[in-house]
């Protein structure tokens, strides 16, 4: 009997904790921070307090060493409360993962300590104004000068970039080598020549801080190089192959919220003398949403399981991310539809679900890029 869908008692407990946290600490402040376009730092502090922040850091470095399955269980719950707020710890894990994958013992000790001893975030800086999907075309330069690298260039759309204690920055030391000329450097907050400018005017996920990072003759110790020169591109891709799975989990959380809100509303709202929940047109929408939530969750768990087993998971992560984010966008869309005119207003939580989850189709590799990965996997067999 090798297949088993049950969660361990511990996983059920952490699911319960994350669910309660989302209901009591995240959902009640979500609309406010969305409107103000501000990071709810007190939520970050509380996440740290209960151990839900940066929990993928191994125990020997002060974390809890959570596996991918635990991460997606937590991710679904927190995103149910607010996808934008969930992006804060999720993008921190995105910044931690390259250090996990390629950092030396000394680097892990040095950087992870700063991320576990107090509420603190990490960030991952790959995208630039001139290139996103075509990551190997990045232009930020890293020039070796004695015991340092001198960084020059601009990164953009970097989640947590301004709050982060440590930012993993991808840069080229030899543009002519294309992806083989990329390296990954850990830049610490406050390093002279490193500036973060907050970007304003986001459609959704407005509680998560998104930044432009500017490096001007920024001297970074060579001791902060992850792996070797030329490893950077591979580190970035291996990171994203893992961290897309929590994006899928967050999408499932948003879709579940959409289904719950729509169900509640449909039972209360009356048209033509009866609750609209009694109309088959509405029932079918709810059924479609439920089909999406269940299948996307099951597949996300599968991708997480592959990761925890150490099996190849790049294609599964791509399927999970693209499928779940598209399903969730449609679920949010239908939740608005079921709410009729009210669904279009801020007063109800459903229009925010749509604005928030749109980003899940774009960041950590657009869904077109996910299809490239999936197709490459099919054709390579």
């Amino acid at each position: 009997m090798p297949i088993d869908f049950s969660l361990t008692d511990e996983q059920k407990e952490l699911q319960k904790l994350a669910r309660r946290f989302a209901r009591e600490q995240i959902a009640p402040v979500a609309a406010e921070y969305d409107a103000r376009e501000e990071v709810p730092w007190q939520v970050v502090e509380k996440l740290h307090e209960v151990g839900l922040l940066n929990a993928i850091i191994p125990e020997e470095y002060g974390g809890l060493g959570l596996g991918m399955l635990e991460e997606v269980i937590i991710g679904e719950e927190l995103a149910w409360g607010c996808m934008g707020i969930y992006t804060i710890p999720m993008a921190s894990d995105l910044g931690i993962t390259p250090i996990l994958l390629a950092g030396s013992h000394e680097q892990k000790q040095r950087f992870f300590k700063r991320l576990t001893e107090k509420p603190a975030l990490a960030a991952f800086a790959l995208s630039e104004p001139g290139n996103g999907s075509d990551a190997a075309a990045l232009r930020t330069r890293a020039v070796r000068d004695g015991e340092h690298y001198v960084l020059n260039g601009t990164k953009t759309w970097i989640s947590n970039g301004g709050e982060a204690e440590v930012v993993v920055v991808f840069a080229t030391f030899a543009p002519e080598l294309k992806h083989k000329g990329v390296l990954a450097l850990v830049v610490e907050k406050g390093t002279p020549g490193f500036k973060a400018n907050k970007l304003h005017g986001k459609m959704g996920q407005r509680a998560s801080g998104t930044y432009e990072l500017v490096f001007e003759d920024c001297r970074v110790p060579a001791a902060n190089l992850l792996g070797a020169e030329g490893d950077g591109f591979r580190i970035a891709m291996n990171t994203l192959n893992k961290t897309r799975i929590p994006v899928a989990a967050g999408s499932v959380g948003v879709a579940r919220r959409a289904l719950e809100e729509a169900t509640k509303y449909a039972k209360e709202r009356e048209a033509f003398g009866k609750p609209i929940a009694e109309l088959q047109a509405i029932q079918f929408k709810l059924a479609e949403m439920s089909m999406g939530v269940e299948t996307a969750r099951a597949y996300t768990y599968y991708a997480a399981w592959l990761t925890d087993q150490g099996l190849p998971q790049a294609h599964a992560a791509a399927i999970a991310k693209a499928y779940a984010s598209e399903m969730a966008f449609e679920a949010a869309n239908q939740a608005i539809q079921i709410h009729g005119g009210y669904g279009y207003m801020h007063e109800y939580p459903v229009e925010k679900l749509l604005r928030d989850v749109k980003l899940n189709q774009i960041y950590e590799g657009t869904n077109e890029i996910q299809r490239l990965i999936i197709a490459r996997h099919i054709l390579s067999q």
Binding site: D9, E10, K12, E13, L14, K16, L17, R20, F21, E49, V50, G51, L52, A55, L64, L66
Partner: protein
């Protein structure tokens, strides 16, 4: 010193309960650590943090209670004793079974929920004190230990009272006693390794439940018109909430 919290597992207040064949059907309900007992768990942890010693969870109920016991351990208590009994047991019989364990454990302080969210007997705390012959302070909102005694503030019907009692003693909780902490993730991981002793019991209930029904609340549908005299309507609302609804 030794501090004991007696806890129970109950349906979440948001759960929809069904009656099936004259009995409450819990199959669709989310079951949680009783929120009134959560104050008790928080308080024993605080007492231990302040005075040292040991914090122990004691529970009496079916096998499924283990989940709530683990939650209490994950909040930070040291170990647990679970008296496993399936089926209904009235509070007096529960108290007698619990008293045996408590006599053995010999704690200084026992705290439990002021009322139980499921059967709402409000009797468990006083009955335990009675069975042990210890003093009881009900509806406690503040608790301090000094010189081997406890000073406690507790609610009465129309006010409050500060009392001093010798230890050991039993306290029941009231909202406001403290702000219960979340079980933490490290706490959850540690809870798995903490001692949880199971003791099978098969006490006979002195009360037999024949039929259960769910209270249906009828609404008064009273609407106040605030358009003409908003101040007057507001005072009337306050008066009704205070005098008739008795919620403020």
């Amino acid at each position: 010193m030794k501090f004991v919290a007696i806890i129970r597992q109950v349906p979440d207040s948001e759960s929809r309960l069904k009656i099936d064949g004259g009995k409450v059907d819990l199959s669709g309900a989310t079951l949680i650590l009783d929120q009134m007992d959560e104050y008790a768990v928080e308080e024993v942890i605080r007492l231990q943090e302040k005075h040292g010693g040991e914090s122990v969870i004691v529970a009496l109920g079916p096998e499924r209670f283990e989940e709530a016991v683990r939650t209490a351990l994950a909040m930070g208590t040291d170990r647990a004793v679970h008296l496993v009994q399936e089926g209904y047991l009235d509070p007096i019989s529960q108290a007698q079974a619990l008293a045996e364990v408590l006599r053995e454990e010999a704690p200084d302080v026992v705290i439990t929920g002021g009322q139980q969210a499921d059967w709402d007997s409000q009797a468990l705390g006083p009955a335990v004190a009675e069975a042990l012959g210890w003093p009881v302070v009900a509806w406690t909102t503040a608790l301090e230990l000094e010189d081997g005694k406890a000073k406690a503030k507790h609610d009465l019907d129309e006010g409050a009272e500060v009392v001093r009692v010798g230890l050991p003693a039993v306290f029941t909780t009231q909202q406001g006693l403290n702000e219960p902490r979340y079980p933490t993730l490290p706490g959850i991981m540690k809870a798995k390794r903490k001692e949880l002793k199971k003791v099978p019991v098969s006490a006979a209930s002195k009360v037999e439940v024949l039929e259960q029904t769910i209270q249906e609340r009828t609404r008064l549908n009273k609407v106040l018109d605030g358009t003409k005299d908003p101040q007057g309507a507001a005072s009337e609302l306050v008066r009704l909430l205070h005098e008739e609804a008795k919620v403020i």
